[in-house]
Amino acid sequence: MRRPSRGFAFLPALALFAILAGCGGGKKEAPRENAAAVPDVPAYGDMIVEGSIGDISGFLSAVTSDAASHEAAGYVFNGLVRYDKDLRLEGALARSWDISPDGKKITFHLRRNVKWQDGAPFTSADVMFTYRRMIDPRTPTPYGEDFRQVKRARAPDPYTFVAEYARPFAPALASWGMDILPKHLLEMYPDISKSPLNKKPVGTGPYRFVEWRTGEKVVYDANPDYFEGKPYIARVVTRIIPDQATMFLELLSGGVDIMDLTPPQYTRQTDTPGFKGSFNKYKYLASAYTYLGFRLSHPFFKDRRVRQAIAFATDKKALIEGVLLGLGQEATGPYKPGTWAYDPDVRKYPHDPAKARELLAEAGWKEKDADGVLRKDGRRFEFTVMTNAGNEARSKTAAILQQNLAEVGIRMRIQTVEWAAFINQFIDKRAFDAVILGWSLSPDPDQYEIWHSSKTGPKELNFIGFSNPEVDKLLEEGRSTFDIGKRKKAYFRIQEILAEEQPYVFLYVPDALPVVQKRFHGIDPAPAGISYNFPKWYVPKALQKYRIQP
């Protein structure tokens, strides 16, 4: 399940402990500090303070849909599987699993001796309970669809769980990354979102919940009985700081240890020796991209040549320079460069205003008004692009696009609308000409919800109204086999078609830019970002800043 991202919050499909999920080989900017003075051995203790723009809404990730809440759930809960540092699925609460040769049955072998944080043992009954709640209509979850594909679920013994599907369903395995819920604490609540556990969670994860002061902070302590060993960092505090400028000042003054930087902060504000002496900056491609999407039933945008012309008119280099200060890559399709589904050889659209004008002329846009705006059959080429208010990157993108399109005789007006109204009144009602939005990407390449012609209904995600029989067929193929070779072929062909059709002008993939206070060691940037091994982060004894008594 994917949804429009709001820029500051990339929303991963599932809370696979993906605070800063990313890919593409992270690299650390600052040189390692001189370790001679301090013995660099893992030690227990200290506290990490992370800054978060928004408060969480609850801890049960099945019934929350914002990034902050999923991240919070990641501290306390586990799924059966999770993504490892290279974004391959590995066991979490499941020790291992088998997939039947026909791809229709997955058998999970669960870890033994895992305990809920209240001491109760974890068993397959908890998995079964979670599954039942995911398909229960009383559970207000947006993630039920994947679980409704299950034809039959069984728990033959306390440490085995079997899910059978009507036909092979490639995203199935990843869907079991959903947080497993404690049956013994939740079965008396018909709607889990109303249970006390949503505010005071009890999970199996590396940290146990301590307190949540709404609008202020959330506190966790290390779980000494965690099945992979007690995490080194004794306490985690998430501070809610609504203003980006304030949060950065908190970082500088030591009130926050870890946050995401903006591109200008990364390139301009943190390049001082003083900053580099106290912090490590990281940079890797985020799992998200930004696009210009057309309502394809709009008379102007029905014509493929017009969409291609706009792609040629778009100066993606200037976008990356202006919006991201160079910290990102051009997007050529709906996949992240460097992942297995990404096709690097699709048709590209370099900035070429002459070519754009040519294509527009072919499409009948020949005459020009006195003020340089194109005309056809008495209509001026004017349209409105909408984006959500308060997103700096998107409003900058719109401003640059406006200038690019003016060069080829297209007048683009910009309208920014507050997020809730934007989705509800414009996206859902298809009341837009074009939009600038972003998608966050999960590691599985299935994008049925976004491109399939059956998903154009109200509230569904193919809101531009894209419909292509070949893409429909390929999407169905791609999700019904576990064979990576076959899937890759299908998704490469989809990217070729999208590149040709340009239902979106794919703009850019930004870099994720986390920064961490230097006393934290053990951070190992990988395609999955930096936070996948958070329980293994530590502060050497001599560098510990806070003394925590559990």
Partner: protein, 284 residues
């Protein structure tokens, strides 16, 4: 008494003698000129993006530096003056119009009309204005028209009270009674006799209102629901600047000072008008 030349000359003389008010007036005049003739102050296009000169400090080419898209800050502040002043004036225009009508009706007719209208004013005054503005803007989406309308629609209560009080006291005065005795109609009494005399306090409140509206717009911009970029307003330039305040000081300093000086200017001028209009206060 009604609008005779001597009174106005006295008023102007008193106003000019007040150095603070005169300074405030000069600042306002300056920004008026900026808003009216932006081309005199900058030859650059405020919307011209140039990604090769992002966030440059002030230089000969860009006297106030450039912003996060390489746009000229001077040009944006100059054209932003237009937008910010417009927000201020239209909002206050709306508020003053409503306030005048309600105040006049209330003061002139008195009795039940007065009671109902003034209770309405009391009720409106109970709601924190900024809360009202925020909710309405968010429901209607933050366009410049909506912003001006909402600030206006939530800011008329003070004017209404003022006008009512003036009307009440003027109504009983001899010259109004005399006019009435000569058979002057209601409209004539209102426009010839009451309005001109109520003008000074209304002017004061309008002057302060413009200042308040400019500040409100900047607060809304800070919350992300003010005038939306790329249209420059002082509020949204400052809001962008705030995110770079640590190192690109020019991007917040200049719009910040523009707001500070303008709002200060309006307030000093308003105070000056208040003092000058009250001859009783002029002597020591």
């Amino acid at each position: 008494m009604t609008g005779s030349g001597g009174i106005w000359r006295d008023f102007a003389r008193r106003l000019l003698r007040n150095r603070l008010a005169a300074a405030g007036g000069l600042v306002i005049l300056f920004f008026f000129l900026v808003a009216a003739f932006p081309a005199l102050f900058t030859s650059r296009n405020p919307d011209r993006i140039d990604v090769s000169v992002i966030l440059q400090p002030p230089s000969a080419a860009h006297p106030l530096g450039t912003d996060d898209l390489g746009r000229d800050v001077l040009a944006r502040v100059v054209y932003g003056a237009r937008v910010s002043m417009k927000v201020g004036f239209v909002a206050v225009g709306i508020a003053t119009a409503i306030g005048l009508v309600i105040g006049l009706l209330s003061g002139f007719y008195g009795g039940r009309v007065d009671a109902v209208l003034m209770r309405f004013v009391d009720i409106m005054l109970c709601f924190p204005t900024f809360f009202l503005i925020l909710s309405v803007i968010a429901f209607l989406s933050p366009s410049i028209v909506n912003i001006m309308a909402v600030i206006g629609l939530t800011g008329w209560m003070g004017v209404a009270r003022l006008v009512r009080a003036e009307t009440l006291s003027l109504k009983e005065r001899d010259f109004v009674a005399a006019a009435r005795a000569q058979g002057a109609g209601t409209a004539r009494i209102v426009f010839r006799h009451i309005l001109p005399n109520a003008l000074a306090p209304v002017l004061v409140s309008a002057t302060l209102g413009v200042a308040g509206a400019i500040l409100t717009e900047s607060a809304l911009s800070f919350l992300g629901i003010g005038v939306q970029p790329p249209t420059p307003s002082w509020g949204n330039i400052l809001t962008i600047g705030k995110n770079y305040i640590e190192f690109a000081w020019w991007l917040s300093l200049f719009p910040g000072l523009a707001i500070l000086f303008t709002v200060l200017g309006y307030n000093l001028l308003g105070e000056g008008i208040r003092d000058a209009a009250d001859p009783r206060l002029s002597g020591r």
